[in-house]
Amino acid sequence: MYAFSFHRPTTVRQAVNLLAKHEDAKLLAGGHSLIPVMKLRLASPPVLIDLSRVEGLSAVELKGRSIVIGAMVRHADVARSKEVREHLPALAEVPGAIGDPHVRHAGTIGGSIANNDPNADYPAACLGLGATIVTSKRKIAADDFFTGMFSTALEPDEIITKVSFPIAKKAAYQKFKHPASGFALVGVFVSKRASDIRVAVTGAGANGVFRVKAFEEALAKRFAPKSLDGLSVKPDGLNDDIHASAEYRAHLVGVLARRAVADAIKR
């Protein structure tokens, strides 16, 4: 790790001001993505702005037909939140499958989404539920938020404050764990609302999380695993590495999507 200066604002406004003031400053949430790369000296932000004392970022609320989660809510707190478990149990499963207890008690939803690791779980839930990412400046639809591997629509001085998830009638997440890291080798989130059917895939895409329109259309006709029989995604453009070929990942997308639909129906 290199030396850095450390700020601990208490309001979003202060945090935004600090961001604007210090070029190359980084926000620090749970630190479970940022600190490891700093320790390896792969990242060297000169200034860290700690969000842990910022007010108003730590609530989980039911607001109308949405679950709204503050950016600083830890994975474990989403996983065990009464509101989430009752109204959107599929969402509770997502942070429940992240990392280990250490990670789940430190990592935050805001940090995970801002980081947009191509193998992270939350981006699949956001895209799969059609969430809205609320920032210090605006509201961004999940479809517009995740712009590629480790990149998002966030501007340099923009802070995620909340994520709003519309409640879906049926939804489920299926994660095939990476044997070493425990991240998603492939993860598929499916949801069904009156107006909207979504299939979002993480882990597989070289550009991060993506939707599978062909699956969504098939499921719109009938929301059943059988509707996906014979359907698959093309391996072209999928991740191909020492852990899984693009072909295997493509295969898993199909398998996990069918399983997720089956799970969603059981709810």
Partner: protein
């Protein structure tokens, strides 16, 4: 059996400090005036070093010294060595290339140290290390061992990158037996390269004492005395009596901490040059590149069967990848620790094995839990399982038919098995695993879309390493006896000094149990001292499951002497003839009388020496012994693994595990069971998860826990562990050893189970979901055509 004696499941004494955070590991030690060391390591697998510029680094804040390989050579610090001579078929000696602690002239693997930065703090050392400018001229890298012979030559001494072309056995007799075979089973096997990943990374502190012109090394070693011997006699750092090596609490080794490493040498040298203590602590990423790896064999193996399923012969041709340099015991692993076990538990008349050891531009490879024996077991147990399937025979029945049944049994590959009952462990394991109910479980699993399979591994290994004369005749540079000293204090408490080293094995408990059992004193009154060359005279350390069979035997020998001396003291106290003194349950009595003396009284009298004159008897009660085994020991057993394979994803889940092992006499069943659990976990790690992957340029792409999969608790069902016992006839307590058995047995059991489940033999380790899925895909494509 007493509550703390031999056979009792005594709670581990050392756990009080380990689980309360009071362990003293090398990194916990801080020396006054200590500096921190950081190694600049090669980013290239193979390159010439054109120039190293350290000027900028020297000027960085806090820097004490920046040292290079050229300075090391100028100071005449010797090369690291491999201590086991292997001769090729043609009689030529192995080609051991020079291995300097810091590379000079060229680098041979990613991670090869090229400079050492010594600074006041670690952060300063890191900052300065970034300023060391090394100008490399990259060379073609040799990565694939199968192509090593045709690759760019790595070391001048080794044309074709060949270290040796060794063989064992009678090729002609084997060929003849194959010609008469009714069936031949052939397999190509990859024994995957593993990264040891002990929980505690390696650490070294070198400290030079100018007042005495002596050096002290604190290190994470499994064998501090051997480290001292090598660093003194071969590397020439200091005379042996001027070098003290201390290996305090060590958090796991699995073989990787046996070896004498560059960092230890460099820290000692740097301390001598700077006059300051120099401490290096490996971080996890560094450990992937700096700790010797394990396994890495490519083998073609064949087994010849007669008409009745009798194994007639076995032959194997193995390429062993030893990496960029020959590590301390690397040469022995794919030879005498491997080919000598190719008879397995079976009576095989003819065996022939050829081993080509090659250099590649990868991390050096050496012993890792099991060392050679897991590789041998995998070959034998895969061959017999596949052989049974190919011949339509029951795999258990085929094994039973071929078991060695009378002892001693001389194999065609050196070993003389002394005792065992292989049928007994197979039978017991089959009962515990409910093999009878397997067909039903398989049908039930199929209903849930799962392919169920069952795999056996009836393994044997050679432990208790080893009779010195025998290993000497095979090329070892050292004898493999063990030493012990039993020091009785005047109050009767006892200190055991052992040349073994504990790094997770629980010696402080088991060794004390042996003494408690013998002397009839509470185990709280016994302590075990190890790991310091100033305290223990000499010893060979702990590896090869030798501490029970060899280390405890030395203690028993010393206890014999202590008891004999104590009887003399008691005879004087009780005014009786020495031959009438009986020692039992901690009491000396005079046969046929009620005269008695307690252990503590006798100990006190030995020291106050009031009851005898110096002419009659020396005061004191302290005895030492060196025990040299007369044979290897042969733990053996049967592991049965049952798996479910997900047809859609290829994912394997182990659903049942049965282990029935014959370890001879067991001192502490709880500790032994723990060793079995850990061994199985590592073996399953190899079979399902672990594998070091290099890219074509020689970069280790599985260089962190994000990419290198270690087994986790969730990968295992509860283990069903049982034992059978045939005592080892060659040591006083009948101990065989248990530290490696699980790691040796497990891989074959897992792969046999998976291949049974999916009906295809094309599964390589690690059998990841993708690997199994591919094998399933291929089998499915072939199946309709065959039907």
């Amino acid at each position: 059996m007493s509550a703390t004696g031999i056979g009792a499941a005594v709670r581990r004494k050392e756990d009080q400090r380990f689980i309360t955070g009071k362990g003293q590991y090398t990194d916990d030690i801080s020396r006054p005036g200590e500096t921190r060391a950081l190694f600049v390591r090669s980013p290239h697998a193979h390159a010439k070093i054109k120039k190293i510029d350290t000027a900028a680094a020297q000027k960085m804040p806090g820097v004490v010294a920046v040292l290079t390989g050229e300075q090391l050579a100028a100071d005449k610090i010797g090369h690291l060595i491999c201590g086991w001579m292997i001769h090729s078929k043609d009689g030529s000696p192995m080609k051991m290339a020079p291995h300097p602690a810091i590379a000079s002239g060229k680098v041979c693997y990613v991670g090869d140290p090229v400079a050492l930065v010594v600074a006041e703090t670690l952060a300063q050392a890191k900052d300065a290390a970034e300023k060391v400018a090394v100008d490399y001229e990259p060379l073609a890298a040799v990565v694939d061992p199968a192509k090593a012979k045709a690759g760019a030559q790595i070391h001048e001494v080794a044309p074709g990158n060949t270290i040796y072309e060794w063989h064992l056995g009678d090729a002609k007799a084997v060929d003849a037996a194959f010609r008469s075979a009714r069936h031949v089973t052939k397999l190509d096997i990859v024994n995957n390269r593993l990264v040891p990943n002990a929980m505690e990374p390696r650490v070294a502190i070198g400290e030079y004492d100018a007042g005495n012109d002596s050096l002290t090394l604190w290190n994470t070693s499994q064998n501090p005395h051997v480290a001292r011997l090598v660093i003194s006699a071969f590397i020439g750092m200091a005379p042996e009596h001027k070098l003290r090596v201390i290996a305090p609490d060590v958090g796991g080794g699995f073989g990787s901490k046996i070896f004498i490493y560059p960092e230890e040498v460099a820290c000692l040298w740097a301390s001598k040059r700077t006059g300051r203590p120099v401490k290096w602590t490996s971080d996890r990423s560094e450990a992937f590149l700096a700790d010797a790896h394990g396994r890495d064999h490519l083998t073609h193996a064949e087994m010849a069967f007669g008409p009745d399923g009798k194994i007639l012969a076995l032959r194997a041709k193995t390429i062993a990848n030893l990496g960029a340099y020959m590590s301390t015991f690397s040469s022995s692993v794919p030879t005498y620790l491997y080919a000598t076990l190719l008879s397995g538990q079976y009576d095989i008349a003819h065996i022939y094995c050829e081993v080509d050891a090659v250099y590649t531009n990868t991390v050096p490879v050496d012993a890792y839990r099991g060392a050679g024996r897991p590789e041998a077991t995998f070959v034998v147990e895969r061959l017999i399982e596949v052989g049974a399937r190919e011949q339509g025979m029951d795999p258990a029945e085929l094994r039973r038919k071929n078991f060695v049944k009378s002892f001693p049994h001389q194999t065609p590959v050196i070993m003389t098995y002394d005792a065992g009952d292989y049928n007994a462990s197979l039978k017991k394991a089959m009962e515990i695993a409910d093999v009878k109910g397997f067909a039903k479980r398989r049908r039930d699993a199929a209903r849930n879309g799962k392919l169920r399979g069952l795999g056996y591994s009836t393994y044997i290994e050679a432990c208790g390493i080893a009779p010195s004369q025998a290993v000497g005749s095979l090329g070892a540079g050292v004898g493999l006896w063990e030493s012990a000293e039993v020091r009785v204090n005047p109050t009767g408490s006892v200190e055991i000094l052992t040349g073994c080293h504990a790094h997770g094995q629980g010696h402080e408990t088991t060794f004390a149990q042996v003494v408690a059992d013998r002397l009839g004193i509470p185990i709280e009154n016994i302590s075990v001292v190890h790991g310091d060359t100033d305290k223990v005279q000499f010893g060979m350390g702990t590896y090869g499951s030798r501490s029970g069979a060899v280390g405890i035997s030395a203690i028993v020998k010393a206890l014999d002497k202590v008891e004999a001396k104590a009887k003399k003291v008691a005879a004087h106290m009780l005014e009786a003839a020495e031959r009438d003194i009986v020692f039992k349950d901690g009491k000396f009595t005079v046969a046929g009388t009620d005269k008695a003396a307690a252990w503590g009284d006798v100990a006190l009298n030995a020291y106050i020496a009031h009851k005898f004159s110096g002419q009659e008897l020396e005061p004191g009660l302290k005895e030492g012994a060196f025990y040299d085994p007369t044979n290897f020991t042969f733990p053996a057993g049967c592991h049965i693994c049952e798996v479910d394979v997900d047809q859609e994803t290829g994912e394997t889940r182990i659903v049942n595990w049965t282990a029935v092992d014959d370890f001879g006499t067991v001192i502490n069943p709880m500790i032994v069971e723990g060793q079995v659990h850990g061994g199985i976990a590592q073996g399953v790690g190899q079979a399902l998860l672990e594998g070091a992957v290099y890219d074509k340029d020689g970069q280790l792409v599985s260089g962190s826990f994000m990419d290198y999969a270690m087994p986790r608790a969730e990968n295992f069902p509860p283990f069903n562990v049982g034992t059978t016992v045939t005592k080892c006839p060659s040591n006083p307590l009948g101990i065989k050893g248990c530290g490696e058995a699980g790691a040796i047995a497990a891989p074959a059991a897992v792969i046999n189970a998976i291949t049974d489940a999916i009906g295809s033999e094309e599964v390589t380790m690690p059998a990841t979901a993708q690997t199994v899925w591919r094998a399933l895909q291929k089998a499915n494509r072939l199946r309709p055509a065959a039907e």
